[in-house]
Amino acid sequence: MLTAQFLYGGAGLVLFALGLWSFLVHEPLLRKIIALNITGAGVFHVLIAIAYRGDVAPPDPVPHALVLTGIVVAVSATALALMLGARLQDAEEEDRRR
């Protein structure tokens, strides 16, 4: 059980580090937004991993609920970031046309 938790959660930490790297290194907005989502997914992985209690006991529902809440928050933030980016692109195109 501990091994499964460690491997799955460790993979989440790798995702966290990868997402962070991509966010810091890459310039384009879309890549930054995707990178943030991957970073967040890494943290969700850790939470899901610690909820696991082997094949006999049912999983801990609290981290599951936290992840559900976290996903909705991430979706909301991503939607707003994408629309701000679209608006910025429009404004830049307008400037170029002038």
């Binding site: 501990l2 460790g10 801990d60 809440t69 629309m83």
Partner: protein, 261 residues
């Protein structure tokens, strides 16, 4: 000459950027390694059942049988309330940025036919997931996500409003989740039970009412976020005839070929 120095400078700055990103990569690899060690230590700290046993033990008094729903709508209902507010805040932010972009061209007969099957199916499945959330995996978020997906499909099929009603009605549907949630909470407080403290006898029905309002709000918010802007104002509203065709969730009647752009 100048172009050569410029090229050299660009090459040098690219090199510096490469060095910098390598440095970032090395540092982050170290961070990842350190975090993994720390995570391993945390796993072995012996906190093991954490809240799991307690959550199952208290389950009979929550009004639902699905433990995740119990956490979301009862133990930690306040988190869920605030998270609905987060979704609404993001949508209001999107609306503040300007009107929605025009939609896609009308779908052809094949796509329209498929949409007329898929959308009702999504709505029915959403309703099922909402009900089943009380005792099995499912619940307001999953149901709301399906409703939102139905809106996305309707917009992709050519309805610029994604099948949503006019702005005034849309606003009420959007706030339904947080409003019902908060008013139930405040009502319980006024009657002496405490904010969001459900009496076990009626907990099931209060949770169901909150979940229904939340499902609608989430579905509408997701679809409206996909539309990507304020709903078109009265002057941009299509004619009555168009509106009938647009607001119908079954575009089956709509079998005219898409106008070529």
């Amino acid at each position: 000459m100048t172009s050569m120095t410029r090229a050299r400078r660009a090459a040098r700055s690219a090199e510096r950027n490469r060095d910098l990103s390598l440095l970032v990569a090395v540092l982050l690899a170290l961070l990842g390694a350190a975090l993994t060690v720390v995570y391993f230590m945390a796993l072995q700290a012996g906190a093991a059942p954490r809240l799991a046993d307690l959550a199952y033990e208290r389950l009979p008094g929550t009004g639902v049988q699905n433990p995740v729903t119990a956490v979301l709508l009862n133990y930690r209902a306040y988190d869920t309330l605030m998270e609905l507010a987060v979704l609404l805040a993001a949508l209001l932010g999107i609306w503040s940025l300007g009107p929605a972009a025009p939609g896609f061209q009308r779908s052809g007969a094949v796509l329209a036919g498929m949409v007329s099957w898929v959308v009702p199916l999504l709505i029915v499945t959403g309703g099922y997931l909402l009900w089943v959330g009380g005792y099995a995996p499912g619940g307001a978020f999953q149901a709301g996500a399906l409703l939102g997906a139905a809106g996305v499909i309707v917009r992709l099929a050519g309805d610029p409003r994604a099948g949503l009603p006019g702005e005034a009605a849309q606003r009420w549907l959007l706030v339904a989740g947080v409003l019902v949630f908060t008013l139930v909470g405040l009502g319980l407080m006024v009657f002496g039970a405490g904010f969001l403290t459900y009496p076990p006898k009626i907990a099931k029905w209060l949770i169901l009412a909150i979940e229904m309002a939340a499902t609608v709000a989430i579905g509408v918010a997701l679809a409206a976020a996909y539309v990507g802007g304020r709903p078109p104002g009265p002057q941009a509203r299509p004619t009555a005839e168009d509106e009938d065709a647009l607001s119908a969730t079954e575009p089956a009647a709509e079998n005219t070929p898409a106008p070529s752009p």
